[in-house]
Symmetry: C2
Subunit: 611 residues, 2 copies
């Protein structure tokens, strides 16, 4: 059966499966956590034709306005002929432009050039081959520099290209290698900086003739359907080669969809994309390349490669010019990947004089400590709490997510992304909320709820009314749902998840600092990378002890530094080389069996400032 999907056209689907599964199989990005059980309410689609009856799950998760506008949960829908749907509702949130500026930090020296040549035409007196003419002319224009051997693709297209505009051509070169030949002298050169996260993938489009960042789009990593975090992806890949190939195809397909989007949005020619840089954690880059990840899962956790790599787009099945150069940033270790190298290049203040710590928060947190004597890196498994996952009402940072919370006697003030009705709590809301609950006395330093009915409880009645026992645990309600909507709350288990996460981060920092032989007081800055960190309040960070206690001025938010680093390496070859050099120099520390770390971890679980 064929249904029409906005932006995707006609899509073939199987009527024996629900719409969600069909969308996943067709690699159409759609938000989804519960895998079609009808318990997450994420997979919203809007019906333009053939709106189905609302199910009880629809009624539970959708507002009246949404229901009236034809929004339904894809997992509840049995496909019917004539349906027309719009899926951008669910995943458009993160297709926002995150970087839109000319980065002035690096000079434009991408290694890619478009060299205008006017080639002498053949005659009976000049019977050189087409390619040989180009070699000779290039040598003339480039002061005797020679050319590397051509690829088959270049030779295949050469005769036609030369003769199209009277032998006026642009030789697109990567270093001294011709990767394309285009007719005329006004060939566009574009590049892509790709940030492959475990959860989402962002691609920025850059004009490599000017260095201008033209735009950036992002989408959920297509691998999410096969597991939410790195460990579950490795496990899935380990079940057989077919699974691994599936994961590789999924992420490549996500990237290709984003390339499609950029090509349409900016009206560029796909073949004008000649260079890409990739930042990703080690598992993501391995799966993107199609490499075995099984040794990443077992001690001593060995990757297939750490070195910076280079391939052509056609080898990787990417929808750019097939000869485009794809550079992969190097890994520091098996769980400190190219994304961390990218973050260092995107937040180079970490590399300046003094002692600096880079902290990239996520399910897996990467830490790099730079002192005057050494550079150390480690990773620590925080679990998915920072991503809003594993939290009962958790969600990612998108419209409807509570991202900031203030609790006072009269009640609760919420900052909701998009100023909408609260739908859940994202990572920054979680940290803020728990910091505020602790400050208000709703929970103690161990994270345990006070008993609102206890005679000594000094909370206001308003706050008491928000604390309630649900089955066997306590929870605090931030927002009471109107009409059919659910209440948004944090419960005992959510708080425990955060304690584990923040304990791991804090212990990691302390371990690195201890190994480097400096004290916490010697730290000149803690640079927090990742878009998520941008939304954190420094006072909340410090009051729950996410980092060891420090002057709030020393905490700096670097935004999506990894993606910025990818843009910089795209723009400048020297920056790429610097990344390779950094990866070699930084010493990787495995926290796994480390006793120092375990000790720090045990003492870092309390919700209070920590030294």
């Amino acid at each position: 059966m064929i249904i029409r999907i906005k932006h995707y056209g006609e899509v073939k689907i199987e009527d024996s499966k629900n719409l969600l599964l069909n969308l996943i199989e067709n690699r159409i990005g759609i938000d989804n956590i519960c895998n079609g059980k009808g318990t997450c309410g994420k997979c919203k689609v809007r019906f333009r034709q053939g709106v189905p009856e609302a199910t009880s799950a629809d009624l539970r998760y959708l507002s009246v306005e949404e229901l009236e506008e034809g929004v339904r949960l894809a997992c509840q829908v049995k496909p019917q002929k004539g349906m027309e749907i719009d899926v951008t509702l669910s995943n458009s949130f993160d297709r926002k432009n995150t970087v839109l500026r000319r980065d002035d930090q690096v000079a434009l020296d991408s290694g890619l050039s478009g060299i205008s040549l006017t080639i002498p035409q053949p005659s009976l007196e000049d019977e050189r081959g087409d390619w040989d003419r180009i070699i000779d002319e290039y040598r003339k224009v480039m002061s005797e520099q020679g050319l590397a051997l051509p690829s088959l693709g270049v030779l295949e297209r050469l005769p036609g290209t030369l003769r199209k505009l009277d032998y006026r051509i642009t030789a697109v070169t990567w270093q001294n290698r011709v990767i394309d030949v285009q007719p005329g002298h006004d060939t566009a050169l574009h590049g892509l900086a790709v940030d492959i996260g475990t959860t989402s993938v962002a691609v920025a489009l850059i004009d490599l003739k000017t260095g201008e960042v033209l735009g950036s789009v992002s989408a959920e990593n297509g691998q999410t359907a096969f597991g939410g975090d790195v460990i579950s992806r490795i496990a899935y890949a380990g079940e057989g080669l077919k699974n691994r190939l599936q994961l590789t195809a999924a992420v490549r397909s996500t990237i290709n969809t984003l390339i499609d989007e950029l090509v349409l949005q900016h009206e560029i020619v796909r073949n004008s994309i000649y260079k890409m840089t990739i930042v990703a954690n080690t598992t993501m880059s391995h799966l993107f390349l199609g490499l075995d990840v099984s040794n990443l899962a077992v001690s001593p956790y060995v990757s297939v490669y750490n070195q910076a790599l280079e391939f052509s787009a056609k080898e990787l099945g990417l929808g750019s010019n097939p000869e485009a150069v794809v550079q992969i940033l190097p890994n520091i270790g098996s769980f400190v990947g190219g994304d961390t190298v990218g973050a260092l290049l995107g937040a180079p203040e970490v590399l300046t004089q003094g002692n600096h710590l880079l902290l990239d928060l996520g399910t897996n947190c990467e830490l790099v400590l730079k002192t005057e004597k050494m550079m150390l890196a480690c990773s620590t498994a925080a679990g998915p709490a920072f991503e809003g996952a594993g939290i009962f009402h958790g969600m990612r940072a998108k419209p409807g997510a509570i991202e900031g919370i203030r609790i006072h006697e009269e009640g609760v003030e919420l900052r909701v992304i998009g100023d909408e009705e609260a739908l859940g709590i994202c990572g920054s809301g979680l940290i803020d909320g728990i910091a505020q609950m602790r400050q208000a006395g709703i929970i103690n330093r161990k994270g345990a709820f006070v008993d609102p009915d206890h005679k000594d409880c000094s909370l206001s009645d308003e706050l008491k009314s928000r604390i309630r026992k649900k089955e066997d645990y306590w929870e605090f309600v931030f927002a009471f749902g109107r009409q059919h909507k659910k209440d948004i709350s944090l419960g005992q288990r959510d708080i425990e998840a955060l304690q584990l996460a923040k304990g791991a981060v804090c212990a990691g920092i302390k371990t690195l600092v201890s190994l480097a032989g400096i004290s916490l007081r010697d730290l000149d800055s803690i640079v927090m990378a990742g878009t998520f960190a941008t939304y954190l309040k420094k006072e909340s960070i410090l009051s729950i002890g996410l980092t060891p206690h420090t002057d709030p001025e020393k905490i700096k938010m670097a935004g999506n530094a990894a993606h910025l680093g990818a843009i910089r390496t795209l723009l400048n070859q020297g920056t790429f080389a610097e990344g390779a050099e950094l990866a070699r120099r930084i010493q990787h520390i495995e926290l796994g069996g480390d006793k120092t770390f375990t000790n720090f971890f045990m003492r870092s679980m309390y919700l209070e400032p920590t030294d």
Copy 2:
């Protein structure tokens, strides 16, 4: 329908087409000139099961013994269930080993190495990536030399290979690039020297650890079905991209069949073939690479490339190790290709002190003149007479072909390849026969027959009885067919074809010599390349004036010098570089519109020694 074919197993065929067409479509090498019209008698197959009734064409072309042994012409056979055939009868002739020796002319320095490494095993204290271990170990073993970036294929297989034999591996490198990693320390390294001729393709297998030539096989170029010579192939390719792709697939398939054969014969692992060199004329190399040949057909006859090239086997769809390095010898001009460069490397006496001429006889003849001052090359279209084609009873040099002829008063003595009954005349027999007919007075210097019935005719009665008028032209019978077999003769038109061919060669030589400013007497040698030339008698060459008159001692036969050159470039990188240098240095002369050539040509048609 399925039939069984010896060496090929079960092959699917269509019963709506005759057996010959089915064999061609299945790319099973079979001799064939008339394309299934039943008029050439070449496409013999032996039936092991299901022998069909003999047709009139079978009776005309096959001997009683053959008919009794179950031999039939494939073009006459309507496929039937249960048939079992053997096709080696028809094409086994040229599957002989042509080169079987260690070539001592060049040192073994192929650029390919198998480097035994024992890699330190990972531990919690040594978490380097698999590939990074190899880089480090290689650097240690190779006195600090670094490695180029790995291919995706190497990385894909790396984790399994490392762990197979306790981290003992062989890194197979091409220059400083790892193209394969094999478990253990005894990896075989093989190479192929490929000679792609317009008519036949020869592939030699070389052990690149010892330099030993293990064997060589050859087969008809699969493109022959689409046209017998270079011009007809270019015309066919020009009819559309699909046609060009067909030609490319055909020759690659021929090469792959020969690789299969070598792999089976020598019991080697296909993936141990890591390097190939290709010699071919310009059109053949273009079609092998899949390049546009349309500009080769029109003035000023421009190729896509002349420079030496390098690809990987997987880009070219060749059945070796996919990462094998494939080097293509450079072209000198559009009709003096890499085969001529190969011939110069295979017959380096041409490059020694003095004035030497290299002559490669064929449908297209290539000539290179080396003097103390310059090197000139040209090509001249001789037509297919030297290949035995375009001659009424012509055939290629295989069992049954008359290769030598002696005419005296009492009759005719024939030397037939394989000492069999004469089936036709090959190129050397043609030249010999015409030289002898001229010497015996059967034809005059203009190539015209004497009238045996004229009163002045002084020929013996025996010879007179062999001259007869057939329709509107005269012919001389060399062999009277017994039973159902045809007579083998040469007629007026055959003689004219040879006159045109030899005239073109002789005029080409004179033109080059004249352009170089030397005289014919200054030539120190005429080196004739090509297996065919080996069978020519010097006295015949000189008496019909195939070359200008010279001391017979100065004529030297170099055998299949092009293929030998391919072997040498495979063995030695310096030889390949020398080839590239030669192609750059040699000046290409276009004879097309040259008046000197036209004048020489008009005066070179007579069958007599020429100055």
